[in-house]
Structures are given as C-alpha cells and as structure tokens.
C-alpha cells in the first residue's frame, strides 16, 4: 500500500515535472514575446510621435475639433493620445501572442477574434478623425460663406451642417465596429429624420421674410438697394 502511494506520488510528480518541462519553454517564449513586444511598442510609439510632430498632427487635430474634446476630457494632446494608444495596442497584441504561445485552449478563439477586430478598430478611428476634420472644415466654410453673404443666423447654419456630418460619421463608425448595428441604424434614421424635419420647419417658419425679400428683389422692380460694392474694391 505504502509503495503504491509512493509510486503514484512519484508518477504524479514526474508528470507535473514533465508538464512543467513542456510548459516552461512556452512560458519563456511568452515572456520573450512580451518583452520584445514592449520594446517594439515603445519604439513604434517614439517613431509615431516623431512623425506626428513632424506633420503637425496636433494642428490638424485642432482644426478637426478633436483637441478641444481631449482638453475637455483632461487628456493630453492628440499626438500623445494616438502614440500611447498605438503603444498599448501593440503591447496588448504581443501579450496576446504570448498567451497564445502558452497553448491554453479556451483563450485561442478569443485572441483570434481580437486580431480580426484590430483592423476594424483602426479603420473606425481613422473614419472618426477625418470625419471630425471634415465636419469642422465644412461647418467653418458654411459659416464664412453665410457671414459674407449676409445670411441671417450663420452660426445656426454652420452648427446644423456640423451636426449632420458628425451624426453621419458616428453611424459609419459604429457600423464599422459592428456595435449594435440594428440599433444604430434605427437611431440614426430617427435622429437624421428628426433633424431634417426640424430644419425644414425652422427654415419654413424663420425663412418666410427672407423668401419674401428675395422674391421681391427678384421680381418686383423698385429702387435698387445701394450697397458698399458699388464702390469697386480694385
């Protein structure tokens, strides 16, 4: 009996030792991958930060209105946020590769899903950033055009355009991320429809006088309104 126990214990210890001997190289591989990943992520972060500073990404982000959002959230500059984001994504990627090297079965599928999701995440961030940039550019263009054409309430016009573009961009971003696609589609439809209806009512109610003046100027022959441009600027 005693010998049996010793034998079983010895066998169990052997198996543990054998399993550990099998596992140890994987653990070492994982640690190497994590360490290499940290070094690569750090290098990528430093290179990216230099490139972003070189192309004046902070200014671009300021134009897009993203810097203001970051400042409100007490976050660092857009360059710093993006470099840190890329650092962590790279490091997490290497950690997951290391974990995969351990060969733990349940984790394999989740890790594969993460790597499939990664490109979509980058595309979504790309769309969001350039969407914000476009919203800022076009709303400012509308504001300037409206002010110089002496259109009433130019800021409302500009804000409406900005809102439409941002809503549109967010709907694309959520679709790209695959987050609650149906809910987002319905929400977007309702929000967009409500916005358009609101604008139609607002322009209809508020623009009556404007339309009347425009039609009078167009069709009723009267005294020509004098303006400053009767003075040639050149």
């Amino acid at each position: 009996m005693r010998e049996m126990i010793i034998s079983e214990l010895s066998q169990a210890l052997h198996e543990i030792a054998r399993d550990f001997a099998h596992f140890l190289p994987r653990l070492i591989v994982m640690l190497i991958l994590v360490l290499a990943g940290w070094a690569i992520a750090y290098a990528v972060k430093a290179i990216l930060r230099s490139i972003l500073r070189l192309i004046k990404f902070d200014k671009l982000s300021e134009n897009a209105g993203a810097s203001q959002l970051l400042a409100k959230a007490a976050l660092p500059s857009a360059t710093e946020v993006l470099s840190r984001f890329v650092f962590w994504v790279t490091l997490v990627g290497f950690i997951l590769l290391g974990v995969r090297a351990l060969g733990i079965l349940g984790l394999q599928e989740q890790i594969a899903k993460f790597f499939v999701f990664l490109p979509r995440l980058f595309v979504a961030i790309f769309i969001l950033f350039f969407g914000l940039l476009a919203a800022s550019f076009f709303s400012r263009a509308a504001l300037l055009a409206a002010v110089n054409a002496n259109v009433p309430s130019p800021r409302v016009l500009s804000l409406a355009l900005r809102t439409i573009i941002i809503v549109f961009v967010l709907s694309i971003v959520f679709e790209e991320l695959g987050l609650a696609e149906q809910t987002m589609l319905v929400a977007f439809g309702i929000a967009f429809g409500a916005l358009m209806l609101g604008l139609a009512i607002a322009f209809g109610m508020g623009g009556r006088d404007l339309a009347r003046r425009f039609l009078e100027r167009k069709f009723v022959r009267g005294k020509k309104e004098e303006n400053e441009d009767e003075l040639s600027p050149l």
């Binding site: 200014k59 300021e62 134009n63 550019f137 400012r140 263009a141 504001l143 300037l144 055009a145 409206a146 002010v147 110089n148 054409a149 002496n150 130019p154 800021r155 309104e225 004098e226 303006n227 400053e228 441009d229 009767e230 003075l231 040639s232 600027p233 050149l234």
Partner: protein, 421 residues
C-alpha cells in the same frame, strides 16, 4: 524655342505665331465673353500702335478663356483699315491680330502665361497687357506704357489713374500700403489690369515657379509686379488718366480678396529674404502724376458696412481666435459694439489685424482660403472708417490719410517680422 512652351501652346497657335515671325511689340489681350467692349478696345490699340509705333513690327495676341459670344472673332476681325481713315495714319509694317483659346474657362494666370510664352517665341522687345474691360482706354496709353520700355530700358511700367477718392478701396487701404511697406517701392497699382513689360523680364517670369503652386494663377498680375521688385528689374509708373468704373456685386469681394490678399500673402513666404531686409520706401520713376482724385458726391450705404463688420466679428469669433492675438480680437470686439457715430477702426489696429492675418496664413493655422474669407468683414469695417474719415475731405486730405496709413504699415513692419519667427 523651349520645349515646355512648345507643349504648353496649341499647334494651331504655334502655326499662327510662326506666320507672324519675330516682332518688336506684343499687345496681349486676355478675354472671356467681352463682345460688348472688345471691338472698340482693339480699334484703340491699333490706333495707338499706328500713332506711337508705326515703324515697329507689332502683333495683337488674344488669349481667350472659352468665350461663347464670338469675342475672338471680333478681335481678329477688326480691320486696321477702319482705323486709318479716321486717324490719317499709316503703319509701315503689317499689324497682325491672332487669337488662341487657352481653356474652356477663364484663368488669368494661364492667359498671361500664354502671352508671355508667345512673347518669348516672337522675341518681342516690349509687351503690353490690356484689359478687355478698359472702356476708357485712349490710344496714348500704349505709348505711355510701352515707350519707357522700348526706348528707356525699363522692365515694368505700371499705370496710375485718376480715380474717385472712394474707388479702389482695397488698393488704398491694403495693397498699396502693404506692398510699399514690405517691398520698399511706392507702386500705386501693383495689381493693374494693364501694364507694360520688357521681353527680358517676361522670359524671367515665365521661368518662375508660380504656375503650378496650387493657386491656379490667381492674382498672377500681382505676383508679376512683385517678381520685378524682388528681381531688381527697372520699374516705372505712367499716368494714364481716368479709370473707368465697373460696378461689382457684393459677391465679388471674396474672389477679389483671394486674387489680391491671397496672392500677396502667398508671395510673402517666398520673398521673405527680400522684404525682411527692406526698410523705408522709395517712389519709382513716374511719368505724370502718381495719383489724381475725383471728389464727386457718391451715395454709399455705410450703415450696412458697419453692420456686416459687427456681425462678422460676433459670428466668426471662433475663427478669429485661431488667427488673431487675444488683444487684437478684444479690441475688434470692443469697436464692433460701438454705434455709427462713435465707430472707429484705427489705422494701427487695421495694420495689426492685417499683419496677424499674414502670419496666420503663413502658419496655416486653419485653411488658408478660410483665412482670406475671414478678412472680408474686417475689411468692411475699415472701409466704413475710411468713408467716415474722408466724407468731406479734399483730395490732399484723403491723400494725407492714405500716406498716414502707409507710414503705419512701415512703422509696424517689425511686428510682422516678430510674428513671422
């Protein structure tokens, strides 16, 4: 003959140029739907050539931007025989008129480039650009603009005009003072519709990198004048007489700002080594008066100008925060709240505004086109003050006010240099 120009000009135009052969004088006439005015202008040009240059070989070159009203046919169809009986003059050489369509839409840069390329191919000694809208043109204008080049070795002759004191407000309040302060030469009409130049300088400008810099040749006439200054070419001015008044609609202010303010701001980057070293200013050799003023009463809706200024300052606050310093913006917001009688946009504040705009344009703090557009309401505010200051002023008093503004631009030039760093 350069390969670049060969590929740039059409085969048909090259054939016409070869038929003409070498010439002494070229008169360039860029057009686009100018059928109403171009006929008499071509007559006057021909008459000017017969009177001033009967022994020289001359050609009128029409660069057309896709007219649909038969403008090119009117240019080439005007017969010199119609001019001869009236003027009792005879040319000793054939006077050619040729035309080319450079594009299907007008572009002043491409038109000038076409004429410069033609001038280089035909080895012209003296060239003249004429506006198809200059209805007040006289035959003497040709001699006044070409003679200094043909006989006296000048490279660029710009015009001066007799104008109403409230006409050309962008020139008197921005273009003339700023070019004078920065480039050191008191050229009244740096952006002129008609000007004469030597073939030598024309060839030099043709080689400049202004044709593909993304501005699509906008304001190229101003770049032409600035290139003559920075290239140290001999520049003169010639008094032509009264400038015709062409009414412009409100919508035209922003395109005009793009052509003038945009072209000047754009040139400042490349010309920094030249203008940063200039101090003071000099009057170039000038034939006749360097300016004359008409003082006829003129009704202007000044209230609307001030309102558009106040609206612009209020509505564009977020845009101005990117362009202007906090102190300049605060001062603009203060004066925007004043009533018609108290409102005053002083020269110093206007100069600071313009210099801060120029520095922001260089740094591209926002889209450069948006920076130019944002200047429009502020320019209206400055115009309001100019009109108020000079409503009862004599010609000398108006000129003194313009001179004061010019000196303010010169005095504050170190501020621009400081912003530029």
């Amino acid at each position: 003959m350069k390969l670049a120009e060969e590929s740039f000009l059409t085969d048909d135009f090259l054939r016409q140029l070869i038929n003409v052969g070498e010439v002494d004088i070229i008169v360039g006439l860029p057009t686009h739907n100018n059928a109403k005015t171009v006929g008499p202008i071509v007559h006057t040009i021909q008459s000017g050539i017969l009177r001033g240059f009967p022994r020289e070989r001359a050609v009128i070159i029409n660069a057309d931007g896709g007219s649909r009203d038969g403008t090119p046919k009117l240019v080439t169809g005007v017969s010199i025989d119609d001019v001869r009986p009236a003027s009792n003059l005879r040319a000793l050489r054939t006077l050619h008129s040729i035309s080319t369509k450079y594009a299907s839409s007008p572009a002043s840069g491409v038109a000038l480039r076409t004429i410069l390329a033609a001038a280089e191919l035909l080895r012209a000694k003296a060239c003249l650009m004429m506006s198809p809208e200059s209805v007040s043109i006289e035959p003497e204008w040709l001699s006044k603009l070409l003679r200094p080049i043909y006989n006296d070795g000048f490279d660029l002759v710009t015009p001066t005009y007799r104008r109403h004191k409230f006409e050309g407000l962008l020139i008197t309040n921005f273009l003339y003072p700023m070019t004078r302060a920065l480039y050191g030469l008191r050229i009244r009409e740096a952006y002129a519709p008609e000007f004469g130049f030597s073939g030598r300088f024309g060839s030099h400008f043709l080689e400049q990198n202004v044709w593909n810099d993304g501005t699509e040749g906008s304001g190229v006439e101003l770049r032409f004048t600035l290139a003559a200054i920075t290239g140290r070419y001999l520049i003169g001015q010639s008094f032509l007489g009264e400038k015709d008044h062409i009414e412009r609609s409100a919508a035209e202010l922003v395109p005009v700002l793009r052509q003038t303010v945009g072209a000047l701001f754009s040139a400042l980057e490349a010309d920094f080594p030249v203008w940063s070293a200039v101090a003071g200013s000099q009057l170039p050799p000038t034939t006749g008066a360097d300016h004359e003023m008409l003082l006829d009463p003129l009704r202007v809706n000044r209230k609307r100008l001030r309102e558009m200024f106040a609206t612009g300052v209020a509505e564009l606050e977020s845009v101005f925060q990117s362009i202007l310093s906090p102190s300049t913006l605060a001062e603009l917001q203060r004066i925007a709240r004043l009533g018609d009688e108290e409102f005053h946009y002083p020269a110093e504040l206007w100069v600071r505004t313009v210099y801060e705009f120029a520095a922001s344009y260089r740094k591209s703090v926002i889209s450069r086109d948006h920076i130019i557009q944002a200047l429009a309401p502020l320019f209206r505010g400055r115009v309001f003050t100019f009109l108020m200051e000079n409503r009862n002023a004599s010609a000398d008093e108006v000129e003194n006010n313009i001179e004061g503004l010019c000196l303010e631009f010169e005095r504050l030039k170190p501020y621009l240099l400081q912003l530029w760093k």
